[in-house]
């Protein structure tokens, strides 16, 4: 059966729309990390951070290391392709600001013993854009 030539660009546009729109159907994290179990009766909360510097699984792992030892942080899920990190925490022990500070703090590199600064910058927290501080 004869097909009109415009069917090709129409299918290409449909492909792009399905590819970009269908992304919501195949969501999965690049990294998950559990730090501690929630204490009974604690008020758990999940905050969403957009962290500049989280680009792949390796950088997400380093960012996850920043939260080790932060009291009240329970788990983390990182979505590297969108630089998005979801952190679940005990709201009675820690808040989103403290978690942001932990992300942006110096990173200890065990292999060299050095501290690396400025690897991560939180640019969005729970849907609110964070303006860079003037120097």
């Amino acid at each position: 059966m004869r097909a009109p030539a415009w069917i090709i660009p129409a299918l290409v546009v449909a492909f792009a729309a399905a590819g970009v729109g269908g992304a919501k159907l195949v969501v999965a994290p690049s990294l998950t990390r559990a730090y501690a179990d929630a204490a009974s009766g604690s008020a758990t909360r999940t905050s969403v951070f957009v962290v500049q510097g989280v680009k792949c699984v390796d950088t997400a792992e380093r960012a996850a290391r920043q939260l080790e030892g932060v009291p009240g942080v329970l788990s983390l899920e990182a979505f590297a392709s969108r630089a998005r990190v979801e952190v679940t925490y005990d709201a009675g022990l820690v808040d989103a600001e403290a978690i942001r500070d932990a992300f942006e703090g110096p990173l200890h590199e065990p292999a060299t013993g050095e501290y690396l600064f400025g690897l991560y910058t939180v640019i969005e927290m729970d849907g609110l854009k964070i303006e860079p501080e003037a120097e």
Binding site: M1, P9, L11, V12, A16, A23, V57, S81
Partner: protein
């Protein structure tokens, strides 16, 4: 004059121009995305829109429900959509969407003009058997190597060799000096062997090739209209032989419609849905 014998409107030229507009838009968008990401003004890299990243991360997604390295849901969704597109429209992705494909095609056109060649066979025409072996064998080897390495390491190991990433990432992560040497080598090869990357090396092309063979949209040649001038063969950037077959079944056809636009007899080449109403067409053809 029956309806089917009526000359095709030269709307085909408009579709050809539309394809160029698609290619220019996507190349422009890729450059814009890559530069913005490199400048730190955007968190979306050019990798986000590569369907091959979806194939690379598919194993990790389906076995561990996690994405590999920098790949994400957009890559996977685009790859799944690409499979559907290929079932319908063959390698239309390569001819209409892929920015690397566009660059290599433009290079092939420029080289053809500069070297005053009449077709896209290049300076070293590859014998059909070798051409077929390379298209199937070499590309599948590249695909297998890339996938095994990615699935074993969890890293997108192909980045440093991928012309799309090297060109559009604006010196992105994993792009080294040798990456530019690889790109330069591919461009040089493309001068003498047009579209060499797409035809013989692209792993995404290898991955969708089986589906492309079964693709439903095909170009059919009407022998009683065809003058055998060979204009279609000379116009095909993939260097396919269109003038000798009743239907272009090659898995390499990108439906760029260059052959149809070049044909001096508009009725001779027609875009058809293969398998739809074909019995009726066949029976009409054998009737005296």
């Amino acid at each position: 004059m029956t309806r089917s014998d009526r000359p095709q409107p030269r709307g085909i030229d408009r579709v050809k121009r539309l394809r160029l507009a698609f290619q220019l838009f996507i190349v422009g968008a890729a450059v814009f995305t890559g530069v913005r990401y490199a400048q730190g003004k955007s968190l979306v890299s050019v990798e986000t829109y590569c369907p091959f990243g979806g194939l690379e991360t598919a194993w990790s997604f389906f076995t561990r429900k996690q994405f590999s390295c920098a790949a994400g849901e957009t890559n996977l969704a685009l790859f799944i959509a690409l499979l559907a597109l290929t079932v319908l429209a063959r390698k239309a992705f390569c001819g209409w969407v892929c920015p690397a494909g566009a660059l290599f095609e433009w290079e092939a056109r420029l080289a053809r003009r500069l070297l005053r060649r009449r077709n896209f066979s290049g300076v070293w025409p590859v014998p059909p058997r070798v051409d077929r072996a390379l298209k199937i064998g070499l590309r599948l080897v590249v695909l297998a190597l890339v996938l095994v390495a990615t699935w074993k390491t969890g890293e997108l190991v192909f980045r440093g060799y991928d012309p799309y990433y090297i060109v559009f990432s604006a010196h992105g992560h994993d792009v080294r000096a040798w990456s530019y040497a690889v790109l330069g080598g591919l461009l040089l090869l493309g001068v003498f062997l047009p579209m060499a990357w797409c035809k013989y090396l692209c792993p995404l092309g290898a991955a969708i090739w089986p589906l492309s063979i079964a693709g439903r949209l095909r170009l059919a040649r009407k022998e009683h209209h065809c003058t055998g001038c060979g204009a279609c063969d000379r116009a095909c950037p993939q260097d396919l032989s269109v003038s000798t077959v009743p239907e272009v079944r090659s898995g390499e056809c990108t439906l760029c419609l260059e052959c149809t636009a070049a044909c001096p007899t508009p009725q001779a080449l027609e875009l058809t849905w293969s398998g739809v109403g074909s019995r009726r067409v066949r029976s009409r053809r054998v009737r005296p």
